[in-house]
Amino acid sequence: MSEFSVIGKPVRRIDGLEKVTGAAQYTTDIKLPGMLIGKMLRSPHPHAKILNIDTSAAEKLLGVKAVITGPRDTLGVKYSNWRRYPHLMDETALAMDRVRYIGEPIAAVAAVDADVAEEALSLIEVEYEILPAVFDPLEAMKDGAPQIHEGPTVRNNVSEARHFEFGNVDEAFKKCDYVREDTFYLHPVIHAFIEPYNSVARYEGDGKLTIWTSTQTPYYIQTLLAMALGLKEGNIRVIKPHVGGGFGGKMELFSDQVVAAILSMKTGKPVKVELTREECFEGGRRRHPMYYTLKTGYMKDGTILAKEAKLYTDGGAYNAMGPTSLYLSGFFQMFPYAIPNYRYDGFHVYTNKTPATAMRGFGGPQAEFTCDSQIDMIAEHLGMDPAEIRLKNRMKPGHVIPGLAKVESCGIKECIERAMESTGWKEKKGKLPKGRGIGMGCYGFMSGGVFNWINSPYAYSGAMVRVNVDGTVDVYIGSAEIGQGSDTVAAQIVAEKLGVPMSDINVVRGDTRTCPPDLGAWGSRQTLMVGNALIMACDQILDKLYKTAAALMGPNVVYDYAAKDGRVFIKERPERGLDFVEVVKAAIRADEGNQLIGRGYYTPHDKGMVSPAYSFGAQVAEVEVDEETGKVTLLQVTTAHDCGQVINELGVEGQLEGAFVMGQGYTLSENLVTDQGKILNPSFVDYKLMRAPDVPENFTSLMVETYEPEGPFGAKEAGEGLTNPNAGCIANAIYDAIGVRITDMPITPEKILKALDEKKKKEAKG
């Protein structure tokens, strides 16, 4: 596709310079005259009734400007992204009469500085009646377990059950040569974004409010904040400065946002609320722990005929985005394989812990760990190469999942083959010296969700493009750059469409007052959705420019025109053309000086229940296991990813590497440890994130390009899918190295040693 000027090229990020020089402004950099500091009081109990809150002593403290509690100072509105499904909305900004996890906000203060605010918190007296609590979903589902929420749709703490089924699973199991069932446990981890939750709210009177906040979804914040405060959506202006990471943990309305707004409304001053790292652990979100059971039926030749998946997920005290993680985990359990008969039952269970929510992969990392581990077990049982069994059962372009999805482009075959070729799979698999092993994991992922839980009448993405008289272009988008590079991709798409240099593009973003509504950064949706909206907007402009060029040039036949390299020209006769700026000026004059603007939007049509398009990929890892300590070293990691047409090669590479490192930590070191609902490692000293020296030096990203008809220029997802196969891939490599299989995540050195001991005992006996 060499005819592109900027698409597919390794383009430098448009926000790169300001970020590396430290000039980029984040919410924490916002300082307004007279600004107060807000802090929240949090529950020390996992489950308790609030009998009384006495704020009188705190209010008297010098420097305290306001103290608020749920029942006295908020509307008590239950809000969440589930506006279309109100029975799932279960959370308030501050506790109303009960707390359900340690860290749940109860009251808040605004004071002249952080020290005074903290002192004031210590003066608030809360009287609790401690209630029995439950911390494990399997316990929580038993009769007689403490009930965390009341309500007609909640029974035995199950807030949502998901079921899907197609084919005839029971009949298919009967036909299978073999059926195996395995169980797995997936542990909780956190998003670990570097920028904590933080907001600055300024109430301007007359029902108008501006909030600067670290979010992936400015539009959600606008509508939900309106709901929580009883204001009009249009009177709330949400500004998203640069964001230091979200990973799914910043796609909901959070207490810091509501509390900052209410404190500002009470005091008439701007109020900043910034969570500490410990608060981000306790009062934030996490990835769902899951108990998974997989039953898979297969034939002697390796064909998988049927699969049944059962899942109990530990949702924590509130739904958050849990019902979607539950749904998607069952959905991605099939990927990237063509399973003809499938049944899934998933249960989202409340426990007295920090709520779990969307996190990079959105149910996929858990699904693929179990799926990839079991496929290797099946391959071993049949004496097949694990790569071969994957190729045999793979999805093909045009694959239909009845009632759920239609897969158009699908490069999984090429991904597996290229990953094998690049790593020397055939020479290595099963043949490496003891202690060293190689493993594979495969995945498919969504390119944007067909989910409108927020119930917005607006399109999924909107865009406005304005060409100025000097040929520079202003691009207005509501999508959220959170570090993933989506603003750069947007600029590239416009530069390519209009044939102007990247340096002439100005992206206007992160402000709900000036930018079109957009559902935000989640589900790997931005390249595809805002990309399509931008193409529509650019096409409107090009239509005007081509007509103007035709009028100016006056050829004697009707030609098609093109815009490239700062020129507008006749497609078939490129030497006949005009300067882009000249055509723009003429087009504006011809329209009585009206601005040259194009508007676009994107909403998926007939794309099933999940996504308009699917990315695919295969990953191979080579590991070395120290059999005396159990430590796993990653020697070489190779990923082949099908993201359709690459828009920004550097961006895709960065996203693949980042997703891998996140998956590496998920697999080998990260674990949010709790005891009786109390997080024991709420700091980056005790919570073990992988760091730069832990990243394998030999990491290869291979981009397998397919053409996705639904994507802008044929592009698909690149930022999230690769979070999914890492755990299974590494687990399979460990098995290849030392013959032990860990099904209980994370795969710590200690678990490996224990498994090796057991294996030795068995061998000694047998």
Binding site: S669, S683, D686, P749
Partner: protein, 287 residues
């Protein structure tokens, strides 16, 4: 973090005076790499921080053929890591410093600060114990010298009195036919060790063991020297069997504390692996 006052004395003498005046209200800060975290977590709330980071009279590395090396307490980890004198005479110290946390920490953190904070997993003490180092402590009544292994008393506690400071680390010259090795186990690079081990052997001319030193971190409230395990080697030719025997003896002396990352049993097991590996490595340097 609570508010505190800040004093930056201009000399060791003045530092001692300030400490004598404020006693337990004061806390010394050097590089601050551990202390600031402790203060942020409100685990300690001193009224006054006494900053000795800039005291150049404590920032030096010298070497004398007879006396050995002297390292001032405020010498940074980085300075030790790259010192040509250290690399020439005690390469193990430079190696140890090279794997201590990250460059940012090594640029600020000091060797004295690391010893005084007395984190039981600290990197610095075990190799110093293996190298038979001593420490110089200065107080209102002059100075005293203690063997490295007698400096620590408990978690985050040392023999230092309220009005004393650690001034210098002294390392005797290495005897001929000596090998020293140190390494540590971590799950994540750049992290504090989970456990670690330092082993030093000095051989007689006939190849038998003249002296052995074994010290571990993360296996007790203090850096643990294990004389019983050292004694296994004395006067004998060091073999793999002998190393294994010493490792078992060493295991008896360890009291590991379980934490979020690892159980006590696992820590002990890995510490024993590291003693074995470091013993082999130290031996290989001489043979």
């Amino acid at each position: 973090m609570r508010d505190f006052d800040y004093i930056a004395p201009k000399s060791v003498e003045e530092t001692i005076k300030v400490l004598s005046e404020y006693k337990d209200e004061a806390k010394i800060i050097a590089g601050g790499q551990s202390l600031l975290n402790i203060l942020k977590q409100d685990l300690m709330a001193p009224e006054i921080l006494v900053d000795i980071k800039h005291l150049s009279e404590l920032d030096y590395i010298t070497y004398d053929e007879k006396e050995g090396m002297r390292i001032g307490a405020t010498t940074t980890h980085h300075a030790v890591e790259v010192s040509p004198l250290v690399i020439e005479h005690y390469p193990i110290l430079s190696e140890m410093e090279h794997t201590l946390a990250f460059p940012q920490t090594r640029n600020w953190g000091t060797i004295g600060g690391n010893l005084c904070i007395q984190d039981p997993t600290g990197d610095v003490a075990p190799p110093l114990i293996a190298l038979r180092a001593t420490v110089k402590i200065v107080g209102p009544n002059g100075e005293r010298i203690l063997p490295m292994e007698d400096f620590s008393t408990d978690y985050y506690e040392t023999v230092l009195e309220e009005d004393e400071i650690l001034a210098e680390v002294r390392i005797p010259p290495m005897a001929p036919r000596t090998g020293v090795a140190y390494s540590k186990f971590r799950i994540v690079e750049g992290d504090a060790p989970i456990v670690g081990a330092a082993v030093a052997f000095t051989l007689n001319e006939d190849g038998t063991c003249a002296d052995a030193r074994i010290a571990t971190n993360g296996t007790a409230p203090i850096p643990l020297r294990i004389p019983d395990a050292e004694a296994v080697f004395k006067g004998k030719k060091i073999t793999d069997e002998l190393i294994q025997e010493a490792v078992e003896v060493a295991g008896e002396a360890m009291e590991c504390i379980p934490d979020i990352v690892a159980s006590d049993e696992y820590k002990k097991r890995v510490a024993k692996v590291y003693i074995k590996r470091m013993a082999r490595k130290a031996l290989s340097q001489i043979q």
